[in-house]
């Protein structure tokens, strides 16, 4: 994760729908990022709330915030409050699960979002850490620390020599500065994930170039959540 210090818009913001920056806006931002990671038409969705969120999600509209983002409504859009009705109209059934016995290692405000779209599925775990600030902690079982302040790229690939170097060199050729870089694998030669946070904006051509690299299975652009 990038170690950048607190910025102006972290304080003068986020622009959000009330009532709680941690229980409403933070949840919205985690779901917003999850939806960007798996953007296709959703067949199924489950949102699990842990810790304080499990006990207070109704009063804070955390469930509405999560459903709104799964529908593509931005975190600052006032339609957020009507998200369950809009989801019903679109035929999207979102299962909301409060979990009262959270694993010890989970942050007190943890959300797990599980999405299915056709043959693709996604499981994202994130924490709402206060003031609307968030931290994605795992993606499909891989540790992946993304706080949404910068744009990020996820490169799902097969573990083999040279992938990180080829990814880094394509970013360099595009003039993109890497702020942080992390790589995890399930096992030697098995599926692996690179998470890179970068300065500046990522364009579609760069994503396409990364996706055409040998051993790369999928590339996902995770935008920043600045709103």
């Amino acid at each position: 994760m990038d170690e950048r210090k607190i910025g102006l818009f972290d304080i003068l913001g986020p622009v959000m729908i009330g009532p709680s920056s941690s229980h409403t806006a933070g949840v919205a931002r985690i779901a917003f990022l999850a939806r960007r990671i798996l953007p296709g038409r959703l067949d199924r969705a489950r949102v699990s709330f842990y810790g304080s969120l499990a006990r207070t999600y109704k009063g804070h509209g955390s469930d509405k915030a999560a459903i709104a983002e799964l529908l593509g409504i931005l975190p600052e859009d006032e339609r957020l409050g009507f998200a369950p009705e809009l989801a019903a109209r679109e035929g999207l059934d979102v299962e909301i699960v409060p979990v009262f016995d959270a694993p010890e290692r989970y942050h007190p405000n943890t959300v797990v979002i599980e999405l299915v779209s056709g043959d693709s599925s996604l499981r994202v775990r994130g924490a709402s850490v206060g003031g609307g600030e968030i931290l994605l902690q795992s993606i499909n079982g891989f540790e992946a620390l993304i706080d949404g302040r910068l744009e990020a790229i996820l490169v799902f690939h097969r573990d083999e020599p040279g992938v990180i170097a080829r990814v880094a060199s394509l970013l360099a050729e595009a003039g993109i500065n890497i702020a942080s870089l992390a790589s995890r694998r399930r096992d030697r030669g098995d599926e692996a994930l690179i998470v890179a946070e970068v300065d500046g904006l990522i364009d579609a051509a760069l994503i396409a170039a990364l996706a055409s690299l040998p051993a790369v299975r999928d590339v996902v652009h995770v935008p920043s959540v600045k709103s």
């Binding site: 950048r4 210090k5 913001g13 405000n109 206060g130």
Partner: protein, 300 residues
């Protein structure tokens, strides 16, 4: 040049090294971090300031009533008292009274699921807009809300917020309400002093005086909702900021410098029991009446 600072003293030093005013330094730093231009950052600041205005107008347009029933149109009551010629007014100053009703209005809109700017958090979102917009409306109606001085007051307040967030916290779950409404009042005091032409040092004096008075404030919301005591506390914290500004302008100084007050706030937050840090596990949340509300709300 370096953009790093964690104390207010370092912030002043960095801005001076850069040859920039505090607001210009903070805007340039944001532009650098976000890979954008200072002009684009200024445009976004202006957009967010406009949203704070929309929130307060929405909160005054009609009584705000929340789903829980705990929020029940306090801002509208105050505004009605301001309009009624025969209403009792122990304190009659229009700026003071507007600061209270504006702060309530923004935070009631938040409690009711409306659109706000979490400045610095949702639960404390009324204080700074309440103080700055009330000052402009009551004392400086000539001041263009899109003008640089008005915008810089919000930026200065944000600078104080960055220091508090860097050294302590702005989350009630970490530091109690001193970290939310307490921080907001310190930020509002600094912003208003800046808007009135005060020096950077004067702004820090105001922030120090205001924050000192909020140390130890716990976060004990009824039923875990951002309503009681949050909404009305936004008005009390606007008054806290106005007291600090009044003292500073009379030449009163804080015995403890701002950076040390922030250090004390951090230490106090660290020693605060979890039951009083936004867990609804103590204080007002566990009063007999608080528990009645909780049961009623949970029954739906």
């Amino acid at each position: 040049m370096s953009w790093l600072f964690t104390t207010a003293a370092e912030l002043l030093a960095r801005a001076s090294e850069a040859g920039l005013s505090l607001p210009d330094f903070l805007v340039a730093r944001e532009a650098f971090y976000s890979s954008t231009s200072p002009e684009a950052a200024r445009a976004e600041i202006a957009r967010r300031i406009r949203i704070t205005r929309q929130s307060l107008e929405a909160g005054l347009a009609k009584p705000q009533r929340s789903f829980s029933g705990l929020t029940d149109g306090a801002a509208a009551k105050l505004a009605a008292a301001d309009r009624a010629a025969e209403a009792p007014r122990a304190v009659a100053d229009p700026f003071f009274r507007l600061a209270l009703s504006y702060s309530l209005a923004v935070n009631e809109v938040n409690a009711c699921g409306g659109k706000i700017v979490a400045f610095p958090t949702a639960g404390s979102s009324g204080v700074i807009p309440g103080v700055l917009w009330a000052y402009r409306d009551a004392c400086r109606p000539d001041l263009d809300a899109e003008s640089r001085p008005f915008q810089d007051a919000f930026v200065l307040a944000s600078g104080i917020g960055i220091v508090i967030a860097s050294r302590a916290s702005l989350a009630g779950a970490s530091g109690g309400c001193q970290a939310e409404c307490g921080a907001a009042a310190a930020m509002a005091a600094a912003g208003l002093l800046g808007l009135r032409g005060g020096s950077a040092e004067a702004c820090l004096e105001g922030a120090a005086l205001s924050l000192k008075n909020c140390l130890g404030l716990v976060c004990d919301p009824v039923a875990g909702l951002v309503e009681v005591p949050c909404v009305k506390r936004n008005a009390f914290m606007a008054a806290n900021a106005l007291t600090a500004v009044t003292l500073v302008e009379a030449g009163v100084k804080s015995a403890i410098p701002f950076d040390e007050v922030v250090g004390a706030m951090k230490a106090i937050g660290d020693s605060m029991p979890a039951s009083l840090r936004e867990s609804a596990g103590g204080g007002l949340a566990l009063t007999p009446t608080g528990l009645v509300y909780k049961e009623k709300i949970e029954r739906g």
